[in-house]
Subunit: 407 residues, 2 copies
C-alpha cells in the first residue's frame, strides 16, 4: 500500500469497462486493476454487484465483494435508461477492453453485443465469460453458469465423492477463479495482438472449459487408455497421516527410492525391500498395509518434528492447515498474499483496515499494487462521467433523475 499509484505498471493506460459480477468476471478484472489498468465497474444503482449481498459483513461491507474489487472504480448507472446507456456507450468509445460475465444474451439484449461494440470502437477487446461457452447445446440456451454446475459436469464432484459414495463439490472456486485467470490471459493475448493489427477481438472463456483445462492429465488418461489411472492411490503421493498434534501429508515422489528415505526418518527397516512394497504398483495394491505401518510411527511425534526430519532427507511433508491457520503462516505473509487494505470507511466504521488476498503474479520491474479499497456503489460515478465530458450540472441532473447513483 506504500505505492501512491503513480508508478508505471504493466497495464498503465489501459481502460477497462467492467460489466462483471460475483466471482468469475471480477477475479479477472481485479487482476487487470492490480497491474495498473483503469477498471470502471458498471453497477446497478442501489444494488450493485450481486456479491455485495454475500456475508460476512464488516461495517456493512461484504467481505467477499471487497476481496476482489479493490483498485476498481464504480459507476452506478441504470442501463435501461436511454440517458444512462448513452453515458455507457461514450465510456465504451474510450475503452481498450469491455468485459462481462452476464448470462448469455444479456449484453446483446442491452445493445452491447460484440457486433455493436466492435462497430463503435474497433480497437476495443471484447471479453465474455460464460458458463458453458457462447453457443452449443447448453451454451445456446440461457442456462446460467455456476461453479457447482461446472464441477458437476466435468467429473470433479464425482471423483471428489465422500467415502460414503456421495459426490461433493471441491470446496474451492476451481471453475470461477481459473476461468477468471484464463479470461485475463485472453485479454492480454488480444492486447498483444492488437499491437500488430490495431484491431480488438473477441475473447471467450467458459467455466467448464477452464475446469477441463485443469483436467488435461485426466482427460489424456480417460480419452486414450482403457482404465483411469489411480494416480492418487499411491500412499506415498500425498498420503495423509495423523501426527501427535494433527494431520499432515507426506509426498514421496521425485526420488529414486522415496520409501527408503521415509523408513529412515521413521526409524523403520527399509520397507522398499519388502515384497509387498517393492514397486509403486505393489505399494498402491498394498496401500492400506503400508499406510498402517507409517501411521503407527507418525502418531508418536508432532507435525513440526516430522516436517523438519523429512525436509532433511528431501521428502515432502506439510501440516494440513485450515485456512484461518494458513493466513498467518510466515511464508504466506512473506509472499504478501494476505495484506492489509484500508477499509472503505463507511460512517461509523469500526475498522480502518481489512485483510485481503494479495497479488499472485509478481513482476520484478513493474509490480502490481493495491492502491484503493473496493468502491462503494457509484463511488466514482461523478469523476468517471466528468472524465468523458459530462458537466457537474448534467451529472447532478442524472443523479436526481435516478439515471445514475452517486456513492
Amino acid at each position: 500500500m506504500a505505492d501512491n499509484g503513480s508508478s508505471r505498471k504493466a497495464l498503465s493506460g489501459i481502460r477497462v469497462v467492467d460489466f462483471t459480477q460475483v466471482i468469475f468476471g471480477p477475479s479477472c478484472t481485479a487482476q487487470l486493476a492490480d497491474h495498473g489498468a483503469e477498471v470502471i465497474k458498471i453497477e446497478r444503482p442501489g444494488v450493485g454487484d450481486l456479491s455485495r449481498q454475500f456475508g460476512p459483513y464488516v461495517d456493512g461491507e461484504s467481505m467477499p465483494y471487497a476481496s476482489i474489487n479493490r483498485n476498481k472504480q464504480s459507476l452506478a448507472v441504470n442501463l435501461k435508461s436511454p440517458q444512462g446507456m448513452e453515458a455507457v456507450l461514450k465510456l465504451i468509445d474510450s475503452a481498450d477492453v469491455v468485459v462481462s460475465n452476464f448470462r448469455q444474451g444479456v449484453m446483446e439484449s442491452l445493445g452491447l453485443g460484440w457486433d455493436e461494440v466492435h462497430a463503435r470502437n474497433p480497437r476495443a477487446i471484447y471479453a465474455n465469460g460464460s458458463g458453458y461457452g457462447p453457443d452449443g447445446p447448453i451454451g445456446s440456451t440461457r442456462k446460467m453458469g455456476h461453479d457447482s454446475m461446472a464441477q458437476a459436469m466435468t467429473g470433479v464432484m464425482h471423483v471428489n465423492a465422500d467415502s460414503n459414495g456421495v459426490p461433493r463439490r471441491a470446496p474451492i472456486a476451481v471453475a470461477d477463479i481459473s476461468a477468471g485467470s484464463l479470461l485475463m490471459e485472453g485479454i492480454l493475448l488480444a492486447l498483444i495482438e492488437r499491437g500488430t493489427s490495431g484491431v480488438g477481438q473477441k475473447v471467450e472463456v467458459s467455466l467448464i472449459d477452464a475446469v477441463l483445462w485443469m483436467e488435461a492429465w485426466g482427460i489424456a488418461t480417460v480419452a486414450n487408455a482403457t482404465a483411469e489411472a489411480d494416480h492418487l492411490g499411491n500412499p506415498l503421493d500425498g498420503g495423509v497421516y495423523m501426527a501427535a498434534d494433527g494431520y499432515m501429508v507426506i509426498t514421496g515422489l521425485f526420488k529414486p527410492n522415496p520409501l527408503q528415505s521415509i523408513c529412515e526418518v521413521l526409524g523403520l527397516s527399509d520397507l522398499s525391500l519388502d515384497d509387498r512394497f517393492s514397486s509403486v504398483d505393489l505399494m498402491t495394491e498394498n496401500g492400506a498395509e503400508l499406510e498402517a505401518i507409517i501411521q503407527a510411527e507418525v502418531e508418536k511425534q508432532p507435525r513440526d518434528y516430522w516436517v523438519s526430519k523429512f525436509d532433511a532427507v528431501d521428502v515432502l511433508c506439510m501440516p494440513v492447515l485450515s485456512l484461518d491457520q494458513t493466513i498467518d503462516q510466515p511464508q504466506v505473509l512473506h509472499n504478501e498474499m494476505v495484506v492489509e487494505v484500508p477499509s472503505n470507511k463507511p460512517a461509523g466504521a469500526s475498522t480502518v483496515v481489512q485483510r485481503h488476498v494479495g497479488i499472485p503474479v509478481k513482476l520484478g520491474s513493474t509490480p502490481g499494487t493495491i492502491n484503493s479499497p473496493a468502491p462503494g456503489i457509484g463511488e466514482n460515478s461523478r469523476e468517471v462521467l466528468a472524465g468523458i465530458g459530462y458537466s457537474d450540472a448534467e451529472i447532478d441532473e442524472m443523479a436526481t433523475a435516478g439515471v445514475i447513483g452517486i456513492g
Copy 2:
C-alpha cells in the same frame, strides 16, 4: 488441426526457451505454444521431462506428458556439458522468454539465474515457477513444491475432509494448473510492458500463491470476520441428490425465491412458506430436513427429466458426471475442449490419433491452434541448433559426444 500453422497468432514471433517439466510449468508453456509462440523445450537426453515416466502409456508414449506438450519442440541437451551449455546460452540470446519451474536454486547453479540471463539478454522475460515463492521461510529452503504441499498448506485439504474427518486432496491439480495460468499471465504482462520499456523483467508465481488467489473470498472471511461463513451449508447451493439413475446437483441461487420454484418442479407445496425453511439461515439450520424432503421426490425420476424441468423454471440442475462421461458431452465437444491430436507415430504405433484437452482461451480473430503433437525427446534438436547457426557436422559431433540427443 486444419490450420497449417502459418496463420497469424497472438504470440507469433515470440521465442520461448522452456526449462519446465511435469505440470505447473508445461501447462504455462503449452498455452504460450497454443497461441503461436515458438516453444523450445530443453530436455535431458534419454530421460526428458519427468512426466514422460507417468502412465498410462499409448504406444509407449505417456498420455499425461502428451497432453500439455503439444505444439512444442524438444531440444535434448546435457546442461552439465560446457558445449551443451554454450548452445543453450546461444538460444537464450535469441529468446523473448525463459521459463523454468525447477526447485529453487537449480537455475542459478546452472549459471542461468535472472542476473546472468538478464545481463546476456536484457529483453528476455524471465519467468520462474516455485512451490512457495523464491524466498521467505520456506521459499529460501530447497524444499520442492508439489500440488499436495500447496493444498495442505492453504486449507484446501482441511476443508475437503471426508465425512470421517480425514483431510483429502481436492482431486484436481488446483495448484499446478492455476499457477501455470498465472505464470502465463505474468509473461504476457511482461511482454506488454516490454513494448514500452524495451526491457524484460522477472516474473514469479508460486503454487501456494495461486491457491491463495483462488481462496480470495475465504481469506476475506477468515481474516476479517469472527467465524467462517458456512457458504456450502445452504442445501440449495449445490445440493447433491440421487435421482432414479444417478446423482445430480441443484443450485437454487440468483432468484428471489428459488425454493418456491424447486417445490413447483417437484410438485410440492411451497416450502418457502414453511417456518423451517423461510430464510437462507433457516434452510441451512434445517438443511437435513429440507434435503430429505427434496430427495424423496428427486429419486422418482431420472436426471434428464429433472434437468429439463428445472431448466424451464431457471433453477440450475446438472447430472454429476464422471470424467469419462464428461469427455463425450456434446457441449464439451462443441467447445473443442477434447480434440484429436495426431500421435507422434513411434514405430509400430497402433493409434494415429490421440484425444487431448483443447484450448480454453478462445480468441475471435487469432485463435490458438494445435499444430503438432508433443515431441519425442530431442525430436527437434537438429533444427533448433541449425536455427542458431550450428552446422550439420557440428550437430552430428555433439550427438556422438552425448552433448545432445537427437530424437
